[in-house]
Symmetry: D2
Subunit: 337 residues, 4 copies
Amino acid sequence: MIIVLKPQATEADAKSLLAQIASVGLKPLYMPGSERIVLGALGDERVLQSLNIEANPLVETVKPILTKYKLVSREVQAHNTVVRFGSAAVGGDRFAVIAGPCSVESEQQLLSVAEMVKSHGAMALRGGAYKPRTSPYDFQGLGIEGLKLLKKANDMLGIPTVSEVMDVSQVEKMTQYIDCFQIGARNMQNYGLLKIIGESKKPILLKRGLSATIEELLLAAEYIYDAGNPNIILCERGIRTFETATRNTLDLNAVAYLKQHTHLPVLVDPSHGTGIRELVIPLSRAAAAVGADGIIVESHLNPCEALSDGHQALTAPMFEQLMQELKPFVEAAGRTL
Amino acid sequence: MIIVLKPQATEADAKSLLAQIASVGLKPLYMPGSERIVLGALGDERVLQSLNIEANPLVETVKPILTKYKLVSREVQAHNTVVRFGSAAVGGDRFAVIAGPCSVESEQQLLSVAEMVKSHGAMALRGGAYKPRTSPYDFQGLGIEGLKLLKKANDMLGIPTVSEVMDVSQVEKMTQYIDCFQIGARNMQNYGLLKIIGESKKPILLKRGLSATIEELLLAAEYIYDAGNPNIILCERGIRTFETATRNTLDLNAVAYLKQHTHLPVLVDPSHGTGIRELVIPLSRAAAAVGADGIIVESHLNPCEALSDGHQALTAPMFEQLMQELKPFVEAAGRTL
Amino acid sequence: MIIVLKPQATEADAKSLLAQIASVGLKPLYMPGSERIVLGALGDERVLQSLNIEANPLVETVKPILTKYKLVSREVQAHNTVVRFGSAAVGGDRFAVIAGPCSVESEQQLLSVAEMVKSHGAMALRGGAYKPRTSPYDFQGLGIEGLKLLKKANDMLGIPTVSEVMDVSQVEKMTQYIDCFQIGARNMQNYGLLKIIGESKKPILLKRGLSATIEELLLAAEYIYDAGNPNIILCERGIRTFETATRNTLDLNAVAYLKQHTHLPVLVDPSHGTGIRELVIPLSRAAAAVGADGIIVESHLNPCEALSDGHQALTAPMFEQLMQELKPFVEAAGRTL
Amino acid sequence: MIIVLKPQATEADAKSLLAQIASVGLKPLYMPGSERIVLGALGDERVLQSLNIEANPLVETVKPILTKYKLVSREVQAHNTVVRFGSAAVGGDRFAVIAGPCSVESEQQLLSVAEMVKSHGAMALRGGAYKPRTSPYDFQGLGIEGLKLLKKANDMLGIPTVSEVMDVSQVEKMTQYIDCFQIGARNMQNYGLLKIIGESKKPILLKRGLSATIEELLLAAEYIYDAGNPNIILCERGIRTFETATRNTLDLNAVAYLKQHTHLPVLVDPSHGTGIRELVIPLSRAAAAVGADGIIVESHLNPCEALSDGHQALTAPMFEQLMQELKPFVEAAGRTL
């Protein structure tokens, strides 16, 4: 950590801070410059937290040298992590396509979509039983009934399932019905939830928050990993920017950056990332090309009757077209579909 | 709601949509233009959700006419809501100053800060027992011990308390110890939590999410109100923008806008809103001037030893200065301090 | 255009506005709702500007139905525009790679880079003679000498050139030296410049502003087109968001959106879009996959000695690798390299 | 400057970089840590630009210690700069109110507004003769005729004038007609314009760009100052964020920050900063409270007939109310109106 002192700080002030730095086992450095005194503290910066250097009125700025995440970093583990649930494996040679409706709405709806996406090569089924909705007047999900339908879909079709957990109170009951938890964008920094999920061993698909930096996403993953669960799939799903022509701004820079800095697999959600059905296929192709380990997309046999997010759901013909168009890009990226 | 159809939509397509609109009791309108057919649906737009118009492949865009929030709107209630807890009243003639440490750290720390802020005129005491921290390696709060200390501070000094609830599992135990729940920025859209808090009658200080629009903040309040709890205090605490010189960008536009569109009281948090101790006083003055109902600020007798966010905490002399500087601005705004 | 009146507006107020709408030749519509009166004005919304409806104190919001750009819209011209300069053609079957140094620094530097990128298949050469730099203390470009070197490179190697014009005063002298103007992100809304470039017939590469919406980019292109120059290449080069791990956030959503809404060709600049040399290749692959017509990248034989932006420049071996990696993705997109 | 090397960098690599640092007269520092080697370069960081350290493939990140602006910094000049033009003085004891129409539209329009704002205490008159408009189909300003009307207003009423310069070609002719140039948000980084204005001695009101950081605003001012013109007034006019309820997000954090870090005066533009007439007064009060040196607001006797931005213009009664409401806040801030 580099510590820049304010102009009024004296050598004595600096010495006092250096003594504190040494007291926690870090190597202190003294760099008197022409306009500012600069200090260094070398070593594991996590121990510096206790010193609370930033709060010192004589400190102008503090610049960390190292990232705060360790366990999920590629420096700690160079090879890719592959996360498996049921027959699904995310992060390996096969490009993962996870598909299904935004919300589980009925047995007929779920099973027919599940069958359709599986027949075209989807690796896993997604479907929301608990729905986070901006307005209290919108459809809130089927709850436990939805979970049972997901279980039924897996029992009948042999397709593993992913569903969003919104709350610590849902973790236990969901465990028996689904194969992979999803933590949604709004809950990426719900730390109580991260810890409880971390104590489970069930795989977790962790979505980036709407305004979360890449580092915050990795630190959220670090929470889960640190609590004991290494089966984490990251997911870029679009960030909030000033642009309103698309629902969010899909950040494929982040995907390329993540693939270089973490060993965890990275998915892309072009449905939420664009919010426009017609943009899902080109952005899925781009996700494959940029190096993502797969995509998670919304699909519905009759989007006009969908109870949520129908405008971004792919119809059956569009899903088939997606898989056909994806193939050459996935292969160009050295993977199979 | 205004519905713009794609260029290829025919009159027959329009008629079919108009029939759907009429079927849910709204008044349909047909507006064939030179380049697009435009439809209208007049009435309570909340019922339109079931039609899922946006998902129709022939629909280009959907433009709502009315906001989705009703209960918290000034159109529904013209007079200001005053939220009371203990001796505190937020939204009335007196400008509310809620102050205290970021985290409860020890009995000595809490009581001495509480005494100090009370002696200078603070209306309530803030202090975190459960702390949402970006990194798993940072101080996570004292938990239940922190709550007991807040209770003790109120018992000894007669100052009502506000503390953050992070999780539905904490609601019940917190109820007996504190006077006002705070829902933090990261949990503004934790809908499970909003509903449970809504079923309580205890006042709630609801902070705007880091990237939440004003409308989303009002819809989060609507969740709580709709669940039965009208005792809601809104709080602007800075939004995330491209600017990095300050920790967040305090959005005082939002405060003026909120005062015109909702009857709920609105606080400002200049500590998180700026992240820089030296900017807290000028932005507190601005908060009073723009029409906020009060501020919530962090204060610590020894910020250098604070276990979290010490860099934005006011020392005792600075807190005293804050109260002195605030006075003429509060009075210029027609209130008392 | 849809006009929502404030609650206090009466039927008489509405009638007065409707008369104004009719007076400019638009079709007026009256839609009295339960909570608001809504008006419509159907026809070419550009004529509405003179009425200044938004300024009316009884008007709550105004919602345009149609976009303000016409000439650059795919509704006006369904087929793709191909922009040609020298041997280069952007927007056709061949995926365009425009490459070269950030700044022209010397004859030796420019010619050796030009030779290298041409030998690997670059279609055109980029190089800045006038440099917009955030700090007055940074290298500001060679000016006219740089332009002459670009001309020399084209004369010797037969590679057409692109260079940034920063000011109306530079247009005339640049015309004789280079083959395609670039308007940089900071000048996307420099309307005097747009108009003068529009009066020229020389092709123009128009970069999206750092915080420009897609619609604003298209309106900037409309300025040029409207002034008489249809030879416009759009370029997505990253937008400014809260994320700081990368220099900008490359918005590939925008590329897919633009390809659907305009007939103009669209390039991607992954060098500025990421600001990190190691991310240029994956994002170039993604650009090809999402449907861009080409890329513009920075390359330098010795980035450590570059006078500007060396950290994002590709070395010769990296440029060769880029072209090799691009090939299968360009072909998967149905184009040639 | 602090330079963090990549993990693979060796001691020899570090020594080579340190020699380069020493070669330009800076003091080199070697800090080998447990996970990374860190280097320091102490002294005037402006000379480091020539070394291009960031481009070195062994360099992970570069962290500047000092800001790049010097001349406009409060460290170089502790006392406030007061900028004078005609009878106006911005930055002194009197809180500056600059008011007038968005665009100059006619003699009658300009003179009547000028008289009105002057009678209520405005210090200077604003009015656009050249208008930057997003769409080519919007009103573009009266040009030279507008300038002559501004001159006439000053001749008749003795009120100094401010008007926007959009282009280097306009500088000379504008000089004779107006008293203070305005550089608009879209041109904040039009460096050719900044330099030419810098060679003039006429005061300049420099608006912050829509997505410019505070540091970039100060560097734009540094361009002008460095070119020889110290008469610079900064202006916060709202930044672009994700929020759409208001036109922009007025950043009053920036005003407080600027007052601490620069000696230049700082104005606030609540008209563009909010884009909503009803929010102009509360945000003007907040501007006075946060420590701004004044405001610049749009006013029009008949906003419904304004040719641009009428929705944010204050009517005469509202302007009078603004001045009345401002008074106690300006006085609370220790100034006069």
